[in-house]
């Protein structure tokens, strides 16, 4: 009998994993970087790394189905004559018509309105679908100024000056030619079928001092009625928040790297910006240092999925959260019912992110007239409202268990962290210890 040495199990590199190898092959074959939608997909410290303590002998809870737990929030009371009053502290983030279909935008407006919250335009202007179906509509003022006009500015309930977004702080947008229908082209004042590059900087201001003057102009044009938000990507949350406040913002929106985009380079999404969890405490600290916490409201977005995430963000000092990706999933994005069609596109339900290609089987990130018929704006809006309701109930459940009669009474002292990283980022103790890295001891 011949003896064969026992073979080792084939071993793949952790550094050169299957995804990395496929990306090298793809780059070598095409000579172009990978473009996709959505936010960072890598594993990051997140709200899952935090836990609530709940009530105990020293703190008593509120009765689950009896005692009131307030969820409302007012945004923009600093300077605006007409602040926004929302029933829940969960808003719908800016997503463009162009990137999304008309029915999808309408569904977002319907769902938000049913839930007593706001929705937001995007890079491409305001559509009648969303204005007509959104009780409270935030109008994004973007570097590209596609579709921007003073009439829509005045029809909005608030204005969001977009400096950056979490998926690509420092990057502009991109809408590839295949998604440029006649209607999208007209709204953007560009020929049909060409790639539309949204600028990364505003055309008529740079820096915090100019921003202050720009905000003054927007206030003058709208007679000081509308709350003015400033949205930044999660780059330097402490300084960006402080500078936005200094420039006169009523509301600061900080979007972490899990926040989605319609399309940008994969390398950008995964390697630029900070996780949402890492952005919150510096932003809150900036407001506290300026004596503006709760006077200038803070909205945080990027990877908010459920009521626990909402409650955790609020406990860390946030006034409201914003959802984009989760809202699209509620409308029907990446639904396994279209699995065969996802497979035909070389992907699978749950992983589809080529939103820029305009072939979305779910009919959401497309301008294809046949595909977009798959979104029934009334039914999809209802699903979004249901989902928002569940998130709100979940957050209330946790808040009551912590003895709070308002979601906004949650506090960092209600939290512990499961990892040293999360403890350091959130500024709460590592579970089972009283150690906050960087604050207590070392």
């Amino acid at each position: 009998m011949t003896y064969r040495n026992p073979p080792t199990t084939p071993r793949k590199s952790a550094t050169f994993d299957d995804y990395t190898l496929s990306e090298i092959r793809r780059a070598a074959a095409t000579g172009i970087y990978d473009i996709r939608g959505a936010g960072a997909k890598r594993k990051l410290p997140h709200f899952d790394d935090l836990l609530f303590l709940g009530a105990s002998i020293s703190r008593y809870p509120l009765e689950g189905y009896r005692e009131r737990c307030d969820t409302s929030v007012v945004l923009g009371s600093r300077h605006a004559r007409k602040p926004i009053e929302l029933k829940i502290p969960i808003t719908i983030a800016g997503m463009s018509f162009g990137s999304l279909s008309g029915p999808a935008k309408e569904a977002l407006g319907r769902g938000a309105t049913l839930s007593g919250t706001s929705t937001t335009t995007g890079d491409g202007g305001m559509t009648e679908e969303e204005r007509g179906h959104s009780k409270t509509l935030v109008y994004q003022y973007l570097p590209s100024r596609y579709g921007m006009n003073p009439r829509d500015l005045r029809r909005a309930d608030a204005i969001e000056v977009v400096v950056g977004q979490g998926a690509k702080p420092g990057g502009g947008g991109m809408l590839l030619g295949q998604k440029i229908s006649d209607r999208v082209a007209e709204m953007r004042t560009l020929p049909k079928g060409i790639d539309q590059r949204s600028a990364s900087r505003h055309p008529d201001w740079t820096g915090p001092d100019d921003l202050e003057i720009k905000i003054l102009e927007l206030r003058e044009i709208t007679d000081w009625e509308k709350p003015i938000y400033v949205k930044v990507g999660g780059a330097r949350p402490y300084y960006d928040t402080a500078l936005a406040v200094k420039a006169g913002a009523d509301v600061v929106v900080v979007d972490g790297m899990q926040g989605g985009t319609a399309a940008t380079q994969e390398v950008f999404i995964e390697n630029v910006g900070q996780p949402t969890l890492a952005c919150i405490r510096p932003a809150v600290q900036a407001l506290q240092d300026l004596g503006m916490h709760r006077k200038v409201q803070l909205i945080v977005s990027g990877g908010i999925r459920n009521g626990a995430d909402v409650a955790k963000a609020l406990a860390l000092g946030v006034d409201a959260v914003s959802i984009g990706t989760a809202a699209l999933v509620a409308l029907g994005d990446n639904d396994p019912r279209w699995e065969a069609e996802y497979n035909a596109l070389g992907t699978t339900a749950g992983a589809y992110d080529d939103w820029h290609e305009g072939r979305d089987p779910a009919g959401i990130t497309t301008q294809d007239p046949e595909l977009m018929k798959r979104v029934d704006p009334i039914a999809a809006g209802r699903r979004l409202a249901n989902y928002l309701k569940v998130m709100t109930l979940e957050a209330q459940t946790i808040a009551r268990a912590c003895g709070k009669n308002s979601l906004h009474n949650l506090e960092p002292e209600d939290l512990v962290a499961l990892s040293i990283e999360a403890a350091a980022m959130a500024g709460v103790p590592l579970a089972g210890t009283n150690w906050i890295p960087g604050k207590t001891g070392f």
Partner: protein, 243 residues
């Protein structure tokens, strides 16, 4: 309307409503302009003592005439929609930004970003304009009697930019469908911007713009036309070196 007492100048003019910014706030001025209803007989306005104020006469949406006596700061006449606004002085950054319709005349010079993202109407700068004139323009017509600075008409989408003098570096970088007419020297052209043939229809268009802007003694045939080579309209890796 906020109470504005009749000033000496108003009495002298007889009909123009005079708003003195040394006596009244900017907010009062803009709100008074915004409250104008269609058909209002307050069609002539005069603004005194702007002294470099920002956001003078922004968001006006009625066809009134506004004469600003002096120099202004940022964003004067921003988002103008139908008014005829004349600045008897120089203008700071972003004059006439995102104009929808109407006209703006700057008797002096204009700073950066003049006419940025403008969608319609006519902006005339009788002096020079600084950098990024007509940046991201979307349908506006801009006529500059003097020179313009670098990076002008960056990502210009639509409309016409006419320069009687010279243009700085990187004119028309990443330009889309806007037309650029320059009479003098162009320091350099930006990515995807090229010189183009002046055909009879362009001469006719340009002559019309010169006439509208009150330019005399200058012939359309003295200008060169610049526009998009349209090579960067759809991403092609072989063009990456152009950026």
């Amino acid at each position: 309307m906020p109470a504005t007492t009749m000033s000496k100048a108003e009495r002298e003019q007889g009909h123009a409503r005079v708003f003195d910014l040394s006596e009244h706030s900017l907010r009062e001025l803009n709100q008074a302009l915004h409250k104008l209803a269609p058909g209002s007989n307050e069609t002539a306005w005069e603004v005194l003592n702007p002294k470099g104020s920002h956001s003078v006469a922004v968001g006006v949406d009625q066809p009134v005439t506004i004469d600003v006596r002096g120099s202004v700061g940022y964003y004067c006449a921003g988002m103008n929609d139908g008014a005829a606004i004349t600045v008897h002085g120089s203008a700071g950054p972003g004059v006439g930004e995102n104009m929808m319709s109407g006209s703006i005349v700057i008797k002096g010079d204009a700073s950066q970003y003049a006419g940025a993202t403008g969608r319609g109407g006519l902006l005339v700068i009788e002096g020079n304009a600084s950098s990024r004139c007509g940046i991201s323009m979307k349908g506006i017509d801009i006529v500059v009697h003097g020179n313009i600075g670098h990076m002008s008409a960056f990502m210009a989408q639509s409309g016409n930019l006419v320069v009687l003098g010279d243009a700085g570096d990187a004119l028309g970088d990443s330009i889309y469908e806007a037309r650029l007419f320059v009479r003098g020297k162009v320091e350099s052209l930006g990515a995807d911007c090229i010189a183009k043939e002046m055909r009879p229809e362009h001469i006719e268009l340009l002559q019309g713009l010169l006439d509208k802007a009150g330019v005399t003694g200058v012939k359309a045939s003295e200008f060169k036309r610049y526009g998009s080579a349209r090579k960067l309209y759809n991403f092609n890796i072989d063009n990456a070196d152009a950026y």
